[in-house]
């Protein structure tokens, strides 16, 4: 089992294991947590075709499992784990964050209030929003 941190969420993946810089996950779990689908010629995510991480498919395919970290890095997105290989973060690339900002559509997010109730920026649609950061420190 591995814990995968992705898009501000903490996901537990039963069929997964980390080894060094590799994160082996079943294809169905890769689709569920990261939207990565297997194609005959590589992978796709959100409708876009991704090139295979290597010309040698054994580098990133093992039976029904894929090395999700390799696929992730091929997209120039950060993929790193703790020393045990049991906790992974699959981050966003600078390019995709920049593209969203350049669209000027405010990126949506969902976070809890002090009582744990979730709120999304999109709940405020129809109002002018003054989104402001703050911290106790």
């Amino acid at each position: 089992m591995v814990t995968v941190l992705i898009d501000n969420k903490i996901l537990e993946v039963e069929q997964g294991s980390g080894a060094g810089d590799q994160l082996w996950i079943s294809t169905s779990e890769a689709e569920r947590i990261a939207g990565i689908s297997r194609r005959p010629d590589g992978f796709s995510k959100d409708g876009a075709i991704l090139p295979a991480p290597s010309t040698n498919s054994e580098d990133f395919l093992r039976g029904d499992e894929i090395d999700l970290a390799a696929v992730w890095r091929k997209m120039n997105k950060p993929a790193l784990s703790d020393a045990s290989g049991e906790v992974w973060v699959l981050g966003a690339s600078a390019g995709e964050r920049a593209a969203v900002l350049q669209s000027l559509q405010a990126p949506d997010f969902t976070l809890p209030d002090l009582d744990g109730r979730p709120h999304s920026l999109s709940d405020f649609r129809g109002k002018k929003v003054f989104l402001v950061s703050w911290a106790s420190w």
Binding site: V89, L104, Q105, A106, F124, F130, W137
Partner: protein, 222 residues
């Protein structure tokens, strides 16, 4: 801090939405309970909003219109560098510096009022081209920093403070402009603020550079 503005403007289709960059469990609660804000305050353990909007400090703000369009991207929310010229024991500022600090706040608040009153016709609401020109965009190192910070704070949260702390430090090295990442990882003084000697050393090392990036707004003291 934003209570008065929120009260004044909330009937005019406006809301303050505050996001607390606070990874330590329960850290935000006493401050929020004391302030009793009437606006929504969200707790952002992993500084996700900082990553999305490329924020590096508090208080930074983004103005978002009724359609969810950014009309002023991330900028300092009316803050002035005054604290750097204050007495570090008493926090007392020279009179002229205190005035500039007050002027910065007033100028920024009045600009917000103008936007709420006039919408896109406000001179403070950027059109698309100007909004894009004012964007600060993340670099690959910034993206790596946020990944490292997320992993580090998660590990600290499950009791692995050593490895987690190293990852947060690595994040700060990758993204040295982020005071939020640095201060979140720093030790706290007796007031609960990350303002011990190492903070002031880091501030002093800025030299002529700003702690709060300059805001491009008419009338804002520089």
């Amino acid at each position: 801090m934003w209570q008065e503005l929120h009260r004044e403007l909330k009937a005019r289709n406006f809301s303050v939405l505050a996001v607390a960059f606070d990874s330590r469990e329960g850290a935000a609660r006493p401050w929020v309970e004391k302030a009793e804000p009437e606006y929504t305050v969200l707790v952002d353990r992993f500084h996700h909003v900082a990553e999305l909007y490329n924020m590096v400090n508090v208080n930074q703000a983004v103005w978002i219109d009724e359609k969810g369009v950014i009309v002023r991207p991330t900028e300092s929310a009316g803050a002035y560098e005054g604290f750097r010229q204050a007495n570090r024991k008493t926090a007392q500022m020279p009179e002229d510096v205190a005035k500039k600090t007050g002027d910065a706040k007033t100028t920024y608040h009045d600009a917000l009022r103008d936007w709420v009153a006039k919408g896109s016709a406000s001179e403070y609401a950027f059109d698309g081209e100007a909004a894009r020109a004012h964007l600060s965009l993340p670099t690959p190192n910034v993206a790596e920093a946020h990944a490292s910070f997320f992993l580090g704070q998660y590990l600290i949260g499950i009791g692995q403070a050593g490895e987690g702390g190293s990852l947060v430090e690595a994040a700060s090295r990758l993204h040295p402009e982020s005071w939020a990442i640095w201060r979140q990882g720093a030790g706290l003084d007796q007031r609960g603020l990350a303002a011990k000697a190492d903070f002031w050393e880091r501030v002093d090392a800025l030299g002529d550079k700003k702690y709060y990036a300059a805001v491009d707004m008419k009338g804002m003291p520089q």
